[in-house]
């Protein structure tokens, strides 16, 4: 079979980041929130690989620990919409009828809604923090999966192998699980790759707006916001976290493309 380099390169980059995040305490000896007011805004040295920020905290350490937060939330924040969206897509696609019509109108409404307005509103309701972000993303994120899966279900249920399954007398739950689901899910999986990127971007943006995680915690978005005044001198403080988002996005899109190739066999 032709080598699927795209997939492997993407996985390689992402796993490096994930491993770095997981083994953060082993990679850096600095505590990400520990301040050293004697040594603020230091240039990169062999001690502080990326220097220190305005509070003397080690930037590299904050970057790695920030990866923990952003990657985790990014993936978790997509898992819930994925499950909800795919399930609803299966049901509406298969059964149709009034339930389908209602859900689709809800989908249309949610899509029309500007995401950040909703997110900000929710953060005001629930207070800033990881929980609000995940709720906001979940409330809005499921619709894409629902639409994708529903469209594929509408096609799949007209296939003859589904008719054959019906003729065997199999119950609907079984047909959905064994015959429909495996054949409709690949597009959703590929989409989830870019969705993770979008979620991370959302978290980072909310963090930049000050609506993300509470202050001392290391997170790329808040790092960008805090580092913004120093853009011209210690430019690396706000730019490198942004660059990390780019790398994560790039690796996920490689994985997405690689998956498309693999699943289309």
């Amino acid at each position: 079979m032709k080598k699927n380099n795209t997939l492997y390169i993407g996985i390689g980059i992402l796993s490096t980041l994930i491993l770095a995040a997981v083994f953060a305490p082993l990679i850096t000896r600095f505590d990400p929130v520990e301040q050293d007011l004697m040594d603020t805004l230091a240039n990169p040295t062999w001690t502080h690989w990326l220097g220190t920020d305005a509070f003397g905290r080690d930037v590299f350490s904050r970057l790695i620990f920030g990866a923990r937060l952003d990657l985790t939330i990014g993936i978790v924040a997509v898992a819930l919409p994925f499950i909800i969206g795919v399930s609803l897509g299966l049901i509406t696609g298969w059964f149709g009828g009034r339930f389908d019509a209602i859900i689709m109108r809800i989908v249309d409404t949610v899509i029309a809604f500007p995401f950040y307005v909703l997110a900000i509103a929710l953060v005001f309701i629930f207070g800033p923090g990881i929980k609000s972000i995940i709720i906001a993303i979940s409330l809005v994120g499921w619709v894409a999966y629902c639409r994708i899966v529903r469209a594929n279900v509408l096609v799949a249920k007209e296939q003859d192998y589904v008719h054959a399954a019906k003729l065997t007398g199999l119950p609907v739950s079984r047909i959905l699980r064994r015959h429909i689901l495996p054949n409709v899910i690949s597009q959703a999986i590929v989409f989830s790759m870019s969705d993770i990127v979008l979620s991370i971007l959302a978290i980072v943006s909310l963090g930049y707006l000050g609506l993300g995680v509470p202050v001392p915690t290391a997170e790329w978005g808040s790092m960008i916001q805090e580092g913004q005044p120093y853009l011209l001198q210690q430019w690396w403080i706000p730019t490198i976290p942004g660059f990390m988002v780019v790398i994560v996005g790039f690796s996920l899109s490689l994985i997405g493309d690689g998956l498309v190739k693999r699943l289309e066999r």
């Binding site: 003859d160 054959a164 065997t168 007398g169």
Partner: protein, 331 residues
């Protein structure tokens, strides 16, 4: 519609239909609902009665739009009948089917590329049906799968392979194996060889003829390919616009077609005999506004239509003891 008792009593008929009707209601928009416009029904099957005897292969021919596929799917249970009855060994099944009933009638599909789940191995497909109906124990299921595969002429290693690894002809064989797994009483084959190349078609037709002989299969063979139907069928029914307009033993129909449409159909088929030339070109097209038609539906294209044909809707009448045709000009 008069029932046609061709020979033996109905009790022995594995499958029979009486005055079967299947309409598809065209979707109504909200505007139509408010205006209360009458629902426009496309009558795909418009009053069909037939019975198939044990071990018989009934060929069903007709052109696109005649309803043969719909008839097949309604008989097998994929569509529910709008009205009329379907019975399996005299048991009425048109409204609901038990699991046993479902097992008794199975279908072979036309398209080898969409009739098999691309994400299941051949073994999984066969086992699923076998285990669900508890036809074999878990220990014995693999053996049974191999038996089914050899029955249709496929090698044993097919059991762990995916559909994409097979050619069109092989996929049709897998489809046949799947249909046979449940040991049905009746097989409905919906254009089983139409999507295959000539040489592959021949091998699948041979397979079906062998299975018919060895297993005593009762089969409804739906096809638009007259030549293939002649090979496999004991009796032939010709459909036009939702009705059976002629039915009788194969050789009788070919030698002595009685309905003008049958004559038209048979003369249009290109022949293999040397020096054969395209004969009379039939006139006209299918009528579009079916609901507005009175009298015989074929009269717009019929070379022998008379004035009565515009008012009387012909029913099936006897041409001889085994052969019926729905035409006012019979006899």
């Amino acid at each position: 519609m008069s029932t046609i008792n061709t020979s033996t009593s109905p009790e022995t008929n594995p499958i029979a239909a009486k005055d079967l009707v299947k309409h598809f209601a065209k979707k109504q928009t909200l505007a139509n609902r408010i205006k209360k416009t009458p629902i426009f029904n496309v009558p795909a099957v418009d009053g069909v009665s037939l019975n198939i005897q044990t071990g018989e292969t009934l060929g069903l021919v007709g052109e696109s739009g005649c309803g043969k596929s719909t008839l097949g799917r309604t008989l097998v249970g994929l569509y529910s009948a709008t009205s009329g009855s379907i019975s399996l060994y005299e048991k009425e099944v048109s409204n609901s089917r038990t699991l046993e009933d479902r097992r008794a009638v199975q279908m072979i599909f036309q398209d080898p590329f969409s009739s098999l789940n691309p994400r299941m191995t051949v073994g999984d497909m066969l086992s699923e049906a076998l285990l669900f109906h508890k036809l074999v124990s878990k220990e014995k299921v693999k053996v049974r799968c191999l038996e089914l595969l050899s029955l249709v002429g496929l090698p044993a290693d097919a059991v762990d392979s995916y559909p994409r690894q097979f050619s069109g002809g092989q996929r049709q064989r897998i489809g046949i194996a799947r249909a046979l797994a449940l040991e049905p009483k009746v097989l409905i084959a919906d254009e089983p060889v139409s999507a295959l190349d000539v040489s592959v078609q021949a091998s699948v037709v041979n397979l079906l003829m062998d299975l018919k002989k060895d297993l005593g299969l009762t089969m409804l063979f739906i096809s638009h390919n007259i030549a293939v139907v002649r090979q496999v069928s004991d009796r032939i029914a010709v459909m036009y616009l939702g009705r059976i307009i002629e039915i009788g033993p194969t050789e009788e129909i070919f030698r002595n077609p009685s309905h003008p449409y049958t004559k038209l159909l048979l003369s249009s088929v290109p022949k293999m005999s040397i020096g054969s030339q395209i004969s009379s070109a039939p006139a006209g097209e299918l009528p579009t506004m079916l609901s507005a038609m009175t009298g015989c539906r074929f009269r717009s294209r019929c070379p022998i239509a008379i004035s009565d044909c515009a008012t009387k809707d012909p029913q099936l009448v006897e041409v001889n003891k085994t052969h019926q045709a729905a035409c006012l000009m019979v006899n």
